[in-house]
């Protein structure tokens, strides 16, 4: 309600009587001493707080309603200023007003969105002081319109000097006659006859003496006789001229700006302000007399005059327009009259004459609207005067009824301007009278609509637009006071469409603020309206207001990814900032536009060019280069690859591709076991031991002099090329603080400066240059080398774009998880699900200089065959700053890697054995493992598969003299430790720059992509507390192609097998594209050996074509020392020649197969890991592991040595395929079968027992005679078979408890036997239940007749027959037994024939 009262008060200030002041020049001169005109002098006293004390002044309304005025207000204007200024002049003046108001807020902060929302929530006016000033001036300049009489003067003050000579009435008449009257009054539009003329004699106390005042009183008394009571004497300028008395009225607030042509109630030029200020010559008496003068004028003259005039006008209107007769007349005749195009009495075409006066120009813009204005003297004009007078007096009822009547008439006459004016006044009357808001709002809206139609009908007529804007301002203010912000927004938006840019911007801005006051606030629409306002402000060159509007909405669109909108905002703000001379701000806005992949090439080039231009301008202003967070090129700051060598060094690119678990397993294997424990012996205290894999939690480290690399991904999202130079890491370094003091901090790369050289910076960065093609994404490896111990901080990347713009990007990597010291990690991007804290920099602890082992491998082809044995040379070089020692190498046990040694390497094992030299460690291991025998291939025996490597130490030139003599000796055998083979070179010591080359045998067991993985551990010569040892990781990718696929079977009990032996069946399939020549087949076992005089086909020099298969057969006989558990190796001319490396690899393969389940998880095949995790508990795994190791020890290894049938001159490629732990698939040496009738019918009534004849067939499949014992009727679980070699072989009768039957010699015996039978038995063997055959010839078949007695009908299953055998020839003695396969028979009860 408070806001509504403010609106009402504002309307009352504008709806008060206007008083015209016509002063003699001498009077004006007297007033000008105070810096004011007479009208301005009287203006502050126009506000009368109390009329006639507290009683008030009664006013008689036409409707005789009691009305009493308690306060009043008069507006005093100089007569010549009472006109509307020209629209152009008014707009120019208003533009200046707005610019001045905008400049006052230029330095203030732009409120953000939240502040605006808070302001709107408190129902406060938006923080737009420029709008209030503009609105006030705009409404002032729209006064004195021709279609409304609200601002027409109701009285005129005629002022003559007190010493005016001559006849005063004539002088007053001459003053009226010769004065510059308002243009509209001169044109007759403004009423002049009904204006009250108030005569005043002004005594100038500064120039006239008291006698003049006395004479003037006398003359005034005489004048009152002729002119009536409207004559007064006013005395001014009785002060000292030093200044106004205290408590003087606020003239300054009531003085408005002057237009060049004047108008709007103000003169063209303001009177000069005296030194004493406004009202300098006025005294307190003067102020009192002025107030008394205005009071007297109001109460005694003006109010009665207005009352009289109101009643007179009401009488005229009632006579001419009101009543039934007049309404009918109007209804019937008005159409005809309006058809006369305004020439009739109701409306007249005042045309340009309505605008009137020279210089005012108000009529020039009336145009088509002139036909709609009110004709002087017409009934409509009288109605308008009546309604306006009623409004001025506060008689809102009369005003409203008259205005409604006027609106109906003017609407019928299509005088829309007058109609709109009447509606506007009707709205004001509704607001002032407290009518329902809808009435006022509808009136104002209709007025807005009708005013807008004026310009739509005639676009050149801008007058309607201005009045429409006035109506919109009034109704929006009223609606906002009512809290109807949506309606206010609509009114303002409707008004802005036809307005010029400046006012449209203001209207849009207010419309936008209305949206913020809605509930919920429409922030997005607010932003849009404000952007439109900013555009209009920008087009009207109001950059300050435009910039504020755009700045306020940036927060609404930020982060919403509306690319075009953000681009428009940045473009506009950047251009405005650049035009305003703020190049630095322009650069930042233009920089935001650079990332625009959705734009075409032209736009991208344009944006880049304008950014570069602005940047150069800004750098010229600042005098130093600007370092900006450029969006081009895009830098992957959230995911960078960090490569640093702390405790661990990566010696090849492939080493970084290997899974970390493999390295962890190798590091675990490299951990020295013999190291004395510093803590206790329990596992709880083991954590305190320095372990290789442990480091400071989360700490990254590197060594002095060793480069730290960062892989940064750069992306060019645009369609044009980007030249990036001076690309480098932005680093700082904290030197190792001395004891008790903080270290210095040095920085580089952030100032866009040069490459840092020298040790004073603590590090050295290397710069790169890269040209990014359109859409290209590259990974750049940037390096920094620390030069002294301390802490190195890598903050980000810095670069120079296109030779002009210095860009920088800060890494936003999450805090790395606790990692091992020296580990290489690709720091992952942060995810939304787990917002990890981000670190501003990557910090590395810089360690003192350390030895560094570089490992390289030569001779390993990228592609080889599965099972192929390759000999390559591994080069070790110490590139660090200290001598290293205690070299230890670890490789996965199943990886097929063997480290050779000096002179012992490269020679075939057979040659070494024949020459009596020291066998290689691998060969010795193989011997102890029990290689049984090998069969040589033709022509290849004893030849080396590949040329022996240069197994010598090739030290550098400086170090060649100190050739380590220990390397010429054999290496100690590798030890298996935690699934890895560990090779130790304990006495090797490499100085700085020294290198050594070692032969390495490699064999990829399986086809597919794999890595040759090796980890080296070494220690510095001088052990440091910070880093006691380092490891070097080397890996090389190898692709193994499928070669020879092998499957084998050991079958015993076959025909022709030697006693105790078995038959080896090996099936090979060539999966390669070329032919493979099988060089030999070997079987390594502790139980068997290959038969020397095998009669089976020989596999020597068997060529297997591509995609062909072959089967190899070999007889295996029992090794002589097998019973005693001794493993023997019998070489021979026919054994395949396996070099020391091959033999070592074979042994490694066997060991890997044996310990595969015990290997660490990362050193096992994936399928095996999964099986273990899913199905077996650790205890079960342990049991299975022991069982499997036992079985593997008993099993045989089948090895096929092959070589590629290469061309002449090409090196021979050899390899072998092995199957480990093959077990025997045995069959019984005696074949047994029980035969008989399948179905028998027997009459059990006739004979209680049914005798069935059966035949047992025996066949000896072995090559030696066998003693066989057949035992009948023994149920399962009644004890094992009795070996036939025991003395119990002799025939004897089985005891009855065994279920056996007596010898079926007679029928009485049968009966006795039947009586003794257990009742559960269905059948009883008859005759001998134990038959011994002393000698069954090899391959011979023996038939044994048997007989069984069946006691009842049914199905019979004879499964209780066992056979035992014993081969008693040359050792080995073979014994065994088996159950005879069951014989099934059906016994039917025969029906006896009827007698």
């Amino acid at each position: 309600m408070e806001r509504l009262q403010i609106i009402k008060a504002e309307l009352q200030r504008s709806h008060c009587p206007a008083v015209m002041v016509l002063a003699h020049p001498q009077v004006e001169a007297a007033c000008n001493l105070n810096g004011l005109t007479l009208a301005e002098l009287l203006r502050p006293f126009g506000v009368i707080r109390q009329l006639n004390g507290t009683v008030g002044v009664p006013v008689r309304t036409p409707a005789e309603h009691p009305l009493r005025l308690h306060s009043w207000r008069l507006r005093f204007y100089t007569a010549e200023t009472m006109f509307q200024p020209a629209p152009e002049a008014a707009d120019e003046y208003l533009r200046g007003v707005l610019s001045a108001a905008a400049s006052e807020v230029a330095g203030s902060d732009v409120p953000d969105l939240q502040e605006l929302l808070d302001c709107a929530a408190r129902r406060e006016d938006p923080p737009c002081p420029w709008y209030r000033r503009y609105r006030g001036e705009f409404l002032r300049l729209l006064q004195f319109g021709e279609h409304e009489s609200l601002d027409h003067p109701v009285a005129c003050v005629l002022a003559l000097p007190a010493d005016q000579p001559g006849d005063l009435p004539a002088a007053f008449a001459a003053l009226w006659r010769h004065a510059a009257l308002p243009p509209l009054m001169q044109a007759g539009v403004m009423e002049s006859a009904g204006v009250l003329r108030h005569h005043v004699l002004v005594h100038d106390g500064a120039s006239q003496g008291p006698e003049v005042l006395v004479a003037a009183r006398e003359r005034l008394r005489t004048l009152a006789g002729s002119l009536g009571s409207s004559c007064q004497l006013l005395s001014i300028n009785t002060g000292s001229g030093q200044g106004p008395p205290p408590g003087h009225p606020p003239w300054v607030d009531l003085l408005h700006g002057c237009l060049p042509g004047g108008g709007g109630g103000e003169a063209a030029q303001r009177v000069a302000v005296p030194a004493g200020g406004l009202g300098a010559w006025l005294s307190g008496a003067d102020l009192s007399s002025l107030a008394a003068f205005v009071q007297e004028l109001s109460v005694r003259c003006l109010l009665p005059h207005m009352e009289t005039r109101l009643r007179a006008l009401n009488a005229q209107v009632t006579t001419n327009r009101k009543g039934l007769k007049n309404q009918l007349k109007s209804l019937l005749w008005r159409k005809t009259a309006s058809a006369d195009a305004g020439s009739g009495p109701g409306t007249s075409a005042s045309g340009s004459g309505s605008g009137g006066g020279a210089g005012s120009g108000s009529g020039s813009g009336s145009g088509g609207g002139a036909a709609s204005s009110l004709a002087p003297g017409s009934v409509e004009c009288q109605m308008r005067q009546l309604s306006d007078l009623a409004l001025l007096l506060g008689d809102y009822e009369t005003a409203t009824s008259t205005l409604r009547l006027l609106a109906a008439d003017t609407k019928a006459d299509r005088g829309f301007k007058a109609y709109a004016g009447a509606l506007e006044a009707l709205g004001a009357a509704a607001v002032l009278s407290g009518a329902p808001p809808s009435e006022a709002v509808s009136s104002y809206r209709e007025a807005l609509h009708r005013y807008s139609q004026l310009s739509q009908a005639n676009p050149r007529n801008r007058e309607g637009v201005r009045y429409a804007t006035r109506a919109a301002l009034l109704v929006s203010a009223y609606l906002r006071a009512l809290g109807q912000y949506g309606e206010a927004n609509t009114a303002l938006m409707k008004a802005h469409f036809q307005e010029d840019n400046l006012r449209a911007g203001l209207l849009l801005e207010q419309a936008a603020h209305c949206l913020l006051a809605l509930s919920p606030p429409h922030t997005r629409k607010f932003a849009f309206n404000l952007v439109l306002a900013g555009l209009r402000f920008d087009m009207s060159e109001q950059r300050e207001l435009s910039g504020r509007a755009y700045t306020q909405v940036v927060g609404v669109y930020a982060g919403r990814q509306w690319a075009l909108i953000e681009e428009h905002l940045s473009d506009t703000l950047g251009r405005q900032a650049r035009e305003g001379g703020d190049a630095t701000t322009a650069v930042r806005h233009y920089m935001d536009m650079l990332y625009c992949p959705h734009n075409n090439l032209y736009c991208q080039n344009l944006y880049l060019q304008q950014f570069m231009d602005a940047l150069q301008q800004a750098q010229a202003q600042l005098g130093f280069p600007l370092v900006l967070p450029l969006p081009l090129p895009q830098v992957s700051c959230e995911r960078v690859g960090l490569q640093h060598d702390g405790q661990t060094c990566y010696c090849s690119v492939d080493a970084r591709q290997v899974e970390g678990g493999v390295w962890a397993a190798l590091d675990s294997a490299l951990q020295p076991t013999a190291e004395p424990q510093q803590g206790g012996s329990s596992w709880l205290e083991g954590g305190s031991r320095p372990r290789l894999a442990d480091g400071d939690a989360g700490a990254l480290s590197c060594c002095v002099g060793e480069a730290v690399g960062v892989d940064v991904v750069l992306h060019n999202p645009l369609h044009l090329h980007l030249h990036t130079t001076r690309l480098r890491l932005a680093c700082t370094c904290d030197p190792q603080p001395p004891a008790g003091g903080a270290g210095e901090r040095s920085a580089a790369g952030e100032d866009g400066g040069q490459q840092q050289q020298g040790s004073q910076q603590g590090f050295q960065v290397y710069e790169e240059s890269v040209t990014l093609q359109a859409g290209e994404r590259v990974t750049v490896h940037l390096r920094v080398v620390p030069l002294r111990p301390g802490t190195l901080h890598v903050h980000g990347v810095a670069w120079l774009l296109n030779g002009t713009a210095h860009g920088t990007a800060t890494f936003r990597t999450p805090h790395p998880p606790p990692a091992r010291r020296g580990s290489s990690a690709r720091l992952p991007a942060d995810t939304d699900a787990a917002p990890a804290p981000r670190s501003a920099a990557i910090s590395l602890a810089v360690l003192p200089p350390m030895p560094r082992l570089e490992v390289s491998l030569a001779g390993l082809p990228p592609t080889l065959l599965a099972g192929e044995v390759v000999c390559c040379s591994m080069r070790l070089r110490n590139s660090g700053a200290m001598t290293l020692q205690h070299l230890t190498m670890a490789a996965p046990a199943n990886a097929g890697i063997r480290l050779g040694s000096g002179a012992a390497n490269g020679l075939p094992a057979a040659q070494q054995a024949a020459g009596g030299g020291a066998a290689s460690p691998a060969a010795a291991q193989r011997s102890s493992g029990g290689v049984a025998e090998a069969e040589a291939a033709d022509g290849n025996g004893g030849t080396s598969p590949c040329p022996p490597p240069s197994a010598s130490v090739s030290a550098s030139a400086s170090a060649s003299a100190s050739l380590p003599p220990h390397l010429t000796q054999a290496l100690p055998p590798p030890s298996l430790r935690r699934g890895a083979a560990v090779f130790q070179l304990p006495s090797v010591r490499l100085g700085v720059g020294q290198e050594v080359t070692l032969p390495v045998w490699y064999r990829a067991a399986h086809a597919g992509a794999t890595h040759l993985v090796v980890a080296w551990r070494y220690e510095p010569l001088v052990r440091l507390d910070t880093l006691s040892c380092r490891t070097a990781r080397f890996a090389q990718a190898v692709q193994a192609l499928p070669s020879l696929h092998l499957s084998a079977r050991l079958a015993a009990g076959l025909a022709g097998c030697a006693l105790g032996g078995c038959l080896l069946q090996a099936q090979v399939h060539n999966c390669w594209d070329e032919g493979l020549q099988v060089a030999g087949l070997a079987c390594h076992s502790t139980k068997w050996r290959l038969c020397q005089s095998s009669s089976l086909n020989s596999a020597g020099s068997l060529l297997v074509a591509p995609d062909a298969s072959a089967v190899l057969h070999r007889q295996l006989v029992v090794t002589e020392g097998a019973a005693a558990g001794q493993a023997q190796h019998s070489g021979g001319a026919q054994a395949p020649a396996m070099s020391a490396g091959e033999a070592g690899l074979l042994e490694a393969s066997r060991q890997a197969a044996a310990m595969a389940p015990a290997a660490p998880k990362h050193l096992q095949p994936p399928a095996q890991q999964q099986q273990q995790q899913q199905w077996h508990s650790p205890q079960q795994q342990q049991q299975q592991r022991h069982k499997r190791q036992q079985q593997d020890a008993e099993g045989a290894d089948v090895v096929v040595v092959w070589q590629v049938a290469g061309r002449a001159g090409t090196p021979t490629r050899r390899g072998f395929t092995a199957l480990h732990g093959q077990r025997l698939h045995a069959a019984p040496p005696i074949d047994v079968q029980l035969r008989g009738a399948a179905s028998v019918a027997h009459d059990f009534e006739a004979a209680p027992l049914c005798m069935l004849p059966l035949t047992l067939l025996l066949r000896n499949t072995m090559a030696a005679p066998a003693a066989v014992c057949v035992e009948l009727g023994r149920l399962p679980g009644e004890g094992g078979p009795v070996p036939p070699s025991l003395p119990t072989w002799q025939p004897r009768a089985s005891p009855l408890t065994d279920g056996g039957a007596a010898t079926p010699s007679s029928g009485s015996v049968l009966l006795a036997a039947a009586a003794a039978l257990p009742p559960v038995r269905q059948h009883i063997w008859c005759g001998r239940t134990r038959v011994t055959l002393p000698a069954v010839a090899p391959g011979g078949v023996v038939q044994v007749p048997l007989s069984v007695a069946v006691t009842r009908p049914g199905k019979l299953s004879l499964a209780d027959c066992h056979v035992s055998w014993h081969f008693a020839g040359q050792p080995p003695h073979v014994s065994g037994s088996c159950r005879v396969p069951a014989h099934h028979c059906t016994v039917l009860a025969a029906v006896p024939a009827l007698p």
Binding site: R524, K525, N529, R560, Q561, L564, I565, N600, L606
Partner: protein, 136 residues
Amino acid sequence: MVIVGANDVPLYEADLSAKSSTDAGGREERPQYLYHFVLHAALDAVEEAEWHSNAMHLGVVDRFNNLQVSAFTTAAHVKFLLLHDGRSDDLVKSFFRDVYEMYLRVMLNPFHTSTSKITAPLFHQKVRQLARNYFR
């Protein structure tokens, strides 16, 4: 046409006008800015219309000069906005329904999240085809 997800982030934008394929070059894309502003400003009206209707098709929710914004909202408050010059509401409704079906198919992709931008060329092609079928 724009598909707007959570936090007013546009998931898909397409210019379905006939002149969209011609690349005028330069700064001839000024109306595009206005279209995006109008569409973004219409989100307030869409949210207001969501409270007044149970249907997914909200009809014309906002106007600016001779431009109209029709809206369609999903259960997840993903908004489909179409800026047009006064097309039939039935056509717009059918168009939205078909686009919604295609949108559901995109959402069935297990690798697509509710905040991912729709960049599938096939989706764009089908939307353009639908626009041609309905509005030309």
